[in-house]
């Protein structure tokens, strides 16, 4: 019955989405914004129904209900509980259902909590959100039904891709999707504002928290995904410029730009058309990204649950939504009054530069990702990878970091170059100190990593400068948010630069008892033993590690053999120290009875993800800070009344 409940909920949700669109259009046509109450109610019920459908699917996976095709094809009764639960979205249909559920829930959240947006714009926004949901409900119901039954049910399921059998599966896809799909709210806001031609500071203030929330999830999702790939793929890489990674980076770049431009619109009433454009682009990138992952057009190490047959359906949806929004933009934006103009040398000037550079990086990633398909159309086979992205997006990103450091030190409206240099003296000193220090003491280093270390130090100092000479207890929470988020970028950049420049690698074949040395550690393979678990067996190496001071600890890397489906994975064993990670992998047994061992010392690599977490925390503080201030203002107003 669970599956039927889910399917029924999905159909009902689709019907309500259609109703929501209809009500919205009628309300706008007849100019009856009072209909907003009814539309809010419909949106909330629609979101709840989508959540029920997702719950039903999770239930079917937890029960290993093999009469459901999806469960039979992707689950297995012997699988641990966590992977049955998370396995619900470790496949095409389930992940699309999760996507649509978040879309519905996001719409419901707007209906429930949004009270600042002008009513006609809110009506148009909710109608747009429902229109998007409707298309994806249709996609699920007609082309990707997750609740299809199988008769007779097989004796057991086919199992989940072993690479996905990791706690990361429970966390990474839902957060990433919450980020991707959360951007739909900004998209719908933009469409709503274009429909009612009401783009201004009020609109920006209303949109800002929604963008921020989605951006926090996106940041967390990407950070978690990067760490997961780092420890799971077994070669110590944390970013490969792979199409799927790029697909998550592009919406993040657009959302980051949007977050800053919306601030300019809210405080200085500028960048009107640009902000609307970015809101459309951010979610468009999410949809294109999802599509790239799902369609299998591009090859990727991270592409799971790929299905090219349904590609055409999604392509039509993309064409309708993105094409529609961009056409609306073209037709309407002329009537959106031009925003205020700025002095180039000012806080808003630096934010314009930030937006420009983020968008250029977005464009580079987009073109680099799609170029192989374009070339294939001309019968040319080529690959665009790390060397291209590093050498083009890298320097621009570093320039962006420099502007990031200067931005918060600049005054709004108008500032002077001399004053800026004076204010940024500590940051410049820190950058020079770090750069020269690393160059002299750290050993050979490339130009980009060296610039990265120097800029990270400068940015770190510049980031905390806005807090200097302030009473820290009274500094507003959203200021703390900005400081911590910018500091997070500096921390992450430092981790990237240092680990890239100074990673040490030891690859060798060892017999039991032989010592191997890396970065002051002595690693001795003491033995290899077989190991069994519910759905895999493994060979586990026992590595006794001794550091320079004689402290001993043990690491246990594994080679895992999965039976359903048959796959081998390397489970790395990682020791985290304050100054980096010792990353160990057990390889194959050679003819000579020696084991392959891969050892890496990755100095300060953890800073990369620590920085990612700080960026998200900064975002969260800013979100809470703004909402708190709003609540306080309201309280005061009520107290006076």
């Amino acid at each position: 019955m669970t599956a039927e409940t889910g399917l029924a909920a999905l159909w009902l949700a689709a019907a309500l989405a259609a109703l929501q669109v209809l009500l919205g259009v009628i309300a706008l046509r007849r100019n009856m914004p009072q209909a907003v109450g009814a539309i809010r109610a419909v949106a909330i019920v629609q979101g709840a129904l989508a959540a029920i459908a997702m719950g039903a699917l999770i239930r079917a996976f937890l029960d290993t209900d093999l009469s459901v095709v999806l469960v039979a094809a992707n689950s297995h009764s012997m699988k641990p509980w966590l992977y049955k639960f998370a396995g619900a979205w470790g496949n095409h249909e389930g992940s699309m259902l999760l996507w649509v559920t978040i879309l519905g829930v996001a719409g419901a959240a707007v209906a429930k909590f949004e009270h600042r947006l002008a009513q006609p714009t809110l009506v148009a926004t909710l109608a747009a959100q429902a229109a998007i949901a409707l298309g994806f409900y249709a996609f699920l119901l007609f082309a990707s039904n997750p609740f299809a039954r199988l008769s007779p049910p097989p004796p057991d399921g086919a199992g989940l891709n072993p690479l996905l059998q990791d706690p990361g599966l429970a966390f990474h896809p839902p957060t990433l999707y919450a980020g991707y799909v959360g951007l739909s709210v900004a998209f719908s806001f933009a469409v709503g504002a274009l429909v009612t031609r009401d783009v201004g500071p009020m609109f920006a203030r209303a949109m800002r928290p929604w963008v921020l929330a989605a951006w926090i999830f996106l940041t967390l999702g990407i950070t978690a995904g990067s760490y997961w790939a780092y420890y799971e793929l077994g070669w110590g890489g944390w970013w490969f410029w792979d199409p799927v990674e790029n697909a998550s980076l592009m919406p993040w770049l657009a959302a980051t730009a949007l977050l800053h431009s919306v601030t300019v619109l809210a405080t200085r009433d500028g960048l009107r058309a640009w902000t609307v454009m970015l809101a459309v682009v951010a979610f468009s990138m999410s949809m294109i990204g999802t599509f790239l992952v799902r369609s299998g057009i591009l090859t990727s190490v991270h592409a799971f649950a790929v299905d090219p047959r349904r590609g055409s359906f999604i392509l039509v949806l993309l064409l309708l939504y993105i094409g529609g929004a961009l056409a609306l933009f073209g037709a309407r934006v002329g009537s959106v009054r031009q925003g205020k103009l700025f002095e180039p040398f000012s806080r808003e000037g630096s934010l314009v530069a930030n937006n420009l550079l983020l968008t250029v990086i977005l464009g580079i990633v987009l073109i680099g990702t799609f170029y192989p398909i374009i070339a294939a159309a001309f019968d040319i086979q080529l690959s665009v990878g790390p060397p291209f992205f590093d050498s083009t997006a890298g320097p621009i990103a570093l320039l962006l970091v420099a502007i990031m450091a200067a931005g918060p030190l600049l005054r709004w409206r108008r500032d002077e170059a001399e004053a800026l240099i004076q204010r940024s003296f500590p940051a410049i000193a820190a950058a020079l100190f770090a750069g020269v220090g690393v160059f002299l003491l750290g050993g050979p280093i490339g130009v980009l990593p060296l610039a990265g270390v120097a800029l990270a130090a400068g940015l770190a100092v510049a980031s905390v400068a806005p807090l200097a000479k302030r009473n820290l207890a009274r500094a507003p929470l959203h200021l703390w948010g900005m400081v911590i988020a910018h500091l997070g970028i500096a921390v992450s950049l430092a981790g990237m630069a240092i680990s890239t420049a100074y990673t040490q690698e030891t690859l060798l074949a060892v017999g039991v008892g032989d010592p191997a040395r890396i970065a002051g550690y002595t690693v001795r393979l003491e033995g290899v033993r077989p190991l069994v678990s519910d759905n895999w067996s493994a060979l586990e190496g026992r590595l006794a590690v001794t550091d320079e001071s004689g402290t001993r600890f043990v690491l246990r890397p594994q080679v895992r053999y999965f039976t359903t489906p048959v796959t081998t994975t390397n489970e790395s064993a990682i020791a985290t120290m304050w100054n980096g990670q010792l990353y160990t992998v057990l390889g194959a047994l050679g003819d000579d009875g020696r084991w392959q061992l891969r050892l890496w010392w990755k100095p300060f690599v953890t800073l990369i993800w620590l920085g990612g977490a700080m960026i998200a925390i900064g975002g969260a503080l800013s979100l809470v800070g703004h909402q708190y201030r709003l609540w306080r203002t309201k309280q005061r107003a009520e107290a006076f009344a």
Binding site: S383, L508, Y561
Partner: protein, 130 residues
């Protein structure tokens, strides 16, 4: 249970090559400079049988053979770019993650500059003229 584990391990061993991979597929060159050059090159060469991985990040046999080949050639004193050209002559541009500059890739390499120029021109419109 242990016996079962061992049997499963034997059964699970994929149908693979009969000869072991050469030593240099999984071990480094003695000369640190050469190893660094080899490593940097391997990170920019695409494994021809994988789903978009460099030969430096792949467990595929073919990637292992390619790593050994790269290390041997570097050890023999060949320049990294000569090894890249040798592979491109055999597998086409596909094998290199760094698209070589030619007519077909000119738009790709010019795109960043074009985007910067377009962006700067756009941004100019939002600034007040002095």
């Amino acid at each position: 249970m242990k016996a079962l584990a061992v049997v499963t391990l034997l059964l699970a061993a994929p149908l693979a090559a009969q000869t072991a991979l050469p030593r240099l597929a999984y071990t480094q060159l003695r000369d640190h400079d050469q190893e660094r050059q080899a490593r940097a090159l391997m990170e920019t060469l695409r494994c021809v049988v994988c789903q978009g991985q460099s030969i430096a990040d792949s467990d595929a046999d073919m990637a292992g053979e390619m790593r050994a080949l790269v290390r041997q050639r570097i050890a023999r004193g060949e320049a990294p770019e000569a090894v890249r050209s040798w592979l491109i002559a055999r597998y086409g541009d596909y094998v290199s993650y760094a698209p070589p500059l030619r007519a077909a890739t000119l738009p790709l390499w010019l795109a960043p500059l074009a985007l910067l120029a377009l962006g700067a021109w756009l941004a100019r419109a939002t600034f007040r003229r002095r």
